[in-house]
Symmetry: C2
Subunit: 516 residues, 2 copies
C-alpha cells in the first residue's frame, strides 16, 4: 500500500505547468530569502568580484510523501534523544573509553580529546552545556507489504544546519498548495496534494529559543564593571549557507532582543580575549567595527570547527581551546561533539553487551527506551572479534550494508558490493575508523523534481531523509536539565544515484513533507 503512494507521485508536469512552477519557485526563493551564495564553479569570482549575487537554495518543486506514523514517532522521541546525548556527554569516562581505541589512528578525534583534557586539567568554569541537535531518519520499507518503520541515519550534535531554511521550504510548498487563494492551481491536481498540507515547521523558533535559553541561563556579566552580553556565531570563511544562519540570528535579535555577532573561526583570537586577571574567565568580544566597545559572550554557537578542514593550523586548535576554557556556554562542548561520533551511535546500537540506553535513560520508562532502540539500524565495528568484519568482507552480506567513516567530514560512504575490496585496500589498523551499518531501505519508487542553484531542473528517483530538530540545555555537573525541546524538521531529498555511486552527479535539495 505504502509503495503505491509513490508510484504516481509527483504528478506529471506539461511544459506550461513546469515553466510556471519553476518561475514561481525561482521568484519565491528570492523574495523570501531561501537563498545561498553561488558556488564559484557557477558564478566565478571574475563575474562577481564583490560577492554580491545570491541564488536559489536547492529545493524540490513538490513536497515529498512521508509516512505519518514515522514522522510522529520521530517527533515523539526527540526530547528523549536530547536527554540521551546530554547524559552521554556527562559521562566523560564512558566517552573516554570509546575514544581511547581511536586516538592513535584518528588525529581529528585525538585533537578534540586533547582539547577536552587540556581544559579539564585547568578546570572548566562553565558547567552549562547547550545542544542544538538534528536527528536524521529514513522510513525503512523493505517490502511493499510491510508497514514502514523509522530508522536513524545519524545524530548531529554540532553545526546542525538548514533549520533556518527548512521553515522557508515548508512555507514555499504550503503556499504553492494553496495558490491562488480559493482556487489552487500551482500544482497539477493529485489526490495527495489536495488532501494534505505540510505539518507546521518551527525550526527557527525552536533553535533560536535554545540559544536564548542558554543566553538567559548564563546570567549577568562576570566582568567588572559589568559588560553588555551577546551570543557569538563562530562561522567558516566563505560560508555559502549564510542565510540559513542569519534566519536564527534574525530571530534572536528581533524576537529575543539579544545581540548576536558573527565571528570567523580564523579570527577568534583577533576579536576575543579572556582577561588573565579574572578567574571566572569571561569571553570578551570586541566588535572590529566599534572601537572601544566590549561585549561578554554568554553563548558560543559553532557553525565551524566541526570538520578537520576547519582546523588549518595549531592556532585553530588553540582557538578551540580558548573558547572551551572560557565561561561562555558552548553549543556544543568538545565532549558533546565527540558524543555525536558515529562510533557512539554504533556502540549504542550494539545488540550484545551492556545496555547503554537503559543506563543513560535511567528514569525513562522502558517502553520509550525500546521505541528509541527500535530506531537503530543494526551497525557494527570491524574489530576482529565482532560480527561486522565478516558481514563486510562477504559479498552477499556486504550487499545489504553501507560502510561509514566514523568521523565528521571524514569522507564518503562506501556502498554494498564495493565494501570488501575497499576494506582489503586499507591496512587493517585503519579499519577501526569505519562503521558498518545495515542499509535502510527507503521507498524504492520515490520521485521528485528539483531546482538546482544554477537554475537547472532535474527530476528522477530520490531518497529522502527527515531531520528532527531538538535543543537541550543542561548542567554538566550533575546532569540537571534546564531546557529540553523538540520542534521543527527538515526533509532533505537526494538524487538516488548520489548514494549509489558515491559521486554527486545528482542533487541534494531542501524539501518538505506531506504525511500519508
Amino acid at each position: 500500500m505504502a509503495d503505491s503512494v509513490y508510484a504516481d507521485y509527483p504528478p506529471h508536469l506539461n511544459p506550461a505547468q513546469k515553466e510556471f512552477l519553476v518561475r514561481t519557485v525561482k521568484d519565491w526563493t528570492v523574495q523570501h530569502g531561501l537563498m545561498i551564495r553561488p558556488a564559484p564553479t557557477f558564478i566565478s569570482k571574475e563575474s562577481d568580484p564583490q560577492g554580491v549575487v545570491a541564488t536559489s537554495a536547492p529545493v524540490t518543486l513538490f513536497p515529498s510523501p512521508f509516512p505519518k506514523s514515522c514522522f510522529e514517532e520521530a517527533q515523539a522521541l526527540q526530547t528523549v534523544y536530547n536527554q540521551l546525548y546530554a547524559a552521554i556527554t556527562c559521562d566523560e569516562q564512558w566517552i573516554g573509553d570509546i575514544m581511547e581505541d581511536l586516538i592513535d589512528v584518528d588525529d581529528f578525534i585525538s585533537h578534540l580529546w586533547n582539547v577536552h583534557l587540556a581544559v579539564k586539567k585547568e578546570g572548566y568554569v562553565q558547567n552549562l552545556s547547550l545542544g542544538l541537535y538534528r536527528s536524521d531518519y529514513m522510513p525503512h520499507m523493505p517490502s511493499a507489504s510491510s508497514p514502514p518503520s523509522l530508522k536513524q541515519v545519524e545524530f548531529n550534535t554540532i553545526s546542525s544546519s538548514f533549520g533556518g531554511l527548512s521553515t522557508l521550504v515548508t512555507s514555499l510548498h504550503t503556499e504553492l498548495l494553496n495558490s491562488p487563494p480559493g482556487h489552487p492551481l500551482a500544482y497539477p491536481s493529485h489526490p495527495l496534494l489536495s488532501s494534505s498540507q505540510p505539518p507546521k515547521n518551527t525550526s527557527v523558533e525552536t533553535l533560536s529559543a535554545g540559544l536564548a535559553a542558554a543566553h538567559t541561563a548564563y546570567g549577568s556579566s562576570k566582568s567588572s564593571p559589568a559588560l553588555p552580553t551577546c551570543i557569538i556565531f563562530v562561522v567558516q570563511e566563505g560560508e555559502r549557507n549564510v542565510f540559513d544562519q542569519l534566519a536564527l540570528s534574525r530571530q534572536l535579535t528581533q524576537i529575543h532582543k539579544i545581540p548576536v555577532f558573527r565571528l570567523l573561526s580564523s579570527e577568534v583570537f583577533t576579536h576575543t580575549h579572556i582577561p588573565a586577571s579574572n578567574p571566572s574567565r569571561p569571553l570578551i568580544y570586541r566588535p572590529p567595527h566599534a572601537e572601544g566597545v566590549e561585549f561578554e559572550v554568554t553563548t558560543v554557537y559553532l557553525r565551524s570547527f566541526y570538520t578537520p578542514t576547519d582546523y588549518k593550523s595549531e592556532r585553530d586548535w588553540d582557538a578551540r581551546i580558548h573558547l572551551e576554557r572560557s565561561a561562555a556556554i558552548k553549543c556544543p562542548t568538545v565532549l558533546n561533539q565527540l558524543a555525536g561520533s558515529k562510533i557512539v551511535q554504533q556502540v549504542l546500537a550494539e545488540a550484545q553487551g551492556p545496555d547503554h540506553l537503559a543506563k543513560f535513560l535511567a528514569g525513562t520508562d522502558s517502553t520509550t527506551i525500546e521505541r528509541l532502540r527500535a530506531t537503530f539500524a543494526p551497525q557494527y565495528d570491524l574489530s576482529s572479534s565482532g560480527r561486522g568484519r565478516s558481514l563486510a568482507l562477504t559479498p552477499e552480506t556486504a550487499a545489504n550494508h553501507v560502510l561509514k567513516p566514523q568521523r565528521e567530514g571524514g569522507g564518503n560512504n562506501i556502498y554494498k558490493e564495493a565494501i570488501p575490496d575497499f576494506l582489503r585496500s586499507l591496512p587493517e589498523t585503519e579499519w577501526k575508523r569505519w562503521i558498518l551499518m545495515e542499509l535502510i531501505q527507503p521507498p524504492a519508487e520515490a520521485k521528485n523534481v528539483a531546482l538546482r542553484p544554477d537554475g537547472e531542473v532535474l527530476s528522477g528517483n530520490v531518497i529522502g531523509e527527515l531531520g528532527i530538530y531538538g535543543t537541550i540545555l543542561w548542567d554538566q555537573a550533575g546532569g540537571k536539565i534546564l531546557h529540553n525541546e523538540q520542534g521543527g524538521w527538515l526533509m532533505r531529498t537526494k538524487g538516488k544515484d548520489v548514494n549509489e555511486g558515491g559521486v554527486a552527479t545528482g542533487f541534494s535539495s531542501l524539501d518538505s513533507v506531506i504525511l500519508y
Copy 2:
C-alpha cells in the same frame, strides 16, 4: 541651519566600519528580498543561462535627512492630489484640448488618445477607475538661511514603482539604527542617527489595499455561469524589478486572499479574451498552466504599456485597446495615464489664465488649494506667445532651469546652460514636446554612500527625491470617490553628477529618511 544638518552627514566610515556595514547590507537585502535581477552587463546570459541569480537592489547605507515640515506637508496633500488627478481624468474635454496641440508631433500621445477615442466610440462598459499614484518632491532650499519648501518634481499616474521595495529599505535602515538590540553599533555614532527613526512606511499595504478596493468594487462575475475573479498584473518581458511587484501580489494573495496572475504585455491576446456574445465585455483570463480553467479579471494593473518602447507593434496597441474596452477596472485608464503627462503638470502650474485647481478641486477649502499650488515649481511651455521661450533661450535665465520632455520615457532632461543650444538644434515645431521648469534647489551639501547592484560602493554628493504614494478609486461617470488613501513613501537618492551631466555615471538608490 538646515544646511548644517547635511554638512557632517553621514558620519565617516573607517575601513572596519565600512566592511561591516557593507557586508551586513549585502546579506540583509538577500535575506529580506530587497533584490533585483542583475543587468546582463553585470551577470551575462552565458554566466547564468537559466536566469536564477539575483542581486541587491541599489540602496544607500544610511537614511537621508529630510525636512520634517516638507515630509508632513507632502503626506497631508496626497489625498488632495489623488482627488485632483481623478477630477482631471473625469474631464475628457479638458484633457483633449491640451492633447490636441501635441497629437501631430508626439505619436505616443497620439496613439494613447486614439485608444481612448476608439473605446469611447464603442462605449465604455466600466466607469470605475483606479489610480495608484506617486507624487515626487524635493525640498527647495535656495539659501542656507531660508526655510525649506516642498516642490513637486512630477506626479506619476501609471506604473508608479518601488512601493514594494521602499518598505524594505525603511526596515533595513531602521534595523541598522537599532542593531544590536539595546546597544546600537552598526553605524558610527552621530546625533541625527541616535535621535531619530525613519517614519513608518506602509507602501505595500496602501498600494495593495487600493487594488483590493477595486477588486471588491467590481462586484460579482459578469459571466454566465459565474467565474472566479482575479487581478492581473500586466508586466514587461525581462522585468528586473520583479520583486518590487511581487511584494504587492504577495500582500494581495496572503492578506486579501485575492488571486493574482502576472501577464506579459506581449501575451495579452494569448491568454485573455472578451466573449463577443457578452455585452458586459468581461475580460477572461486563461492561466496557461491550468487547462480549462478561466478567471474573470476585475482589475488590470499596468506595470507595462507606460513607455513607447512597450509598444513594439500595432498588436501591442490593439492589446491596450482590448484591455481598455473590457469590463475590468484599469489601473490606470488611458485618460488617467494622459492626465499624468508633464504638460498637464505645466498647465496646472500656469500663473496666468484660468484657475484650473480651483475648478477641479471645487469643494476643497481655498487654503488647502493654495498649499497644493505652493508645491508647483514655476514651469512653462515653449510657445511663441509664452514666457518660457525667452527664459529658455537666454543663457542667464536658462541657467536656473531644466528642460524636460513632456512624455513618459521620452528621453533625458537637459540642464541649465545646455538648454539654449539644444533647443536651437531642434526644429521649432518640436519645441512643444518640451517643458521648461525652474530648477528646484535641494540641499547642496547632501551626501550618502550607496551599494550598487554589482557590489561596488560609491559615496559622494547626492540629490534625494521623496515620493508619496496614494490610491484612489472613483466613478468616472459623475466623479464619485469610493476610496481615497495616502500611505507609504519612497526616498530615491541619486549621485549628483547624474543630474548635472545627464549621463548615469553615478547611481540612483533606494533610500529612506530621518526627519529633522
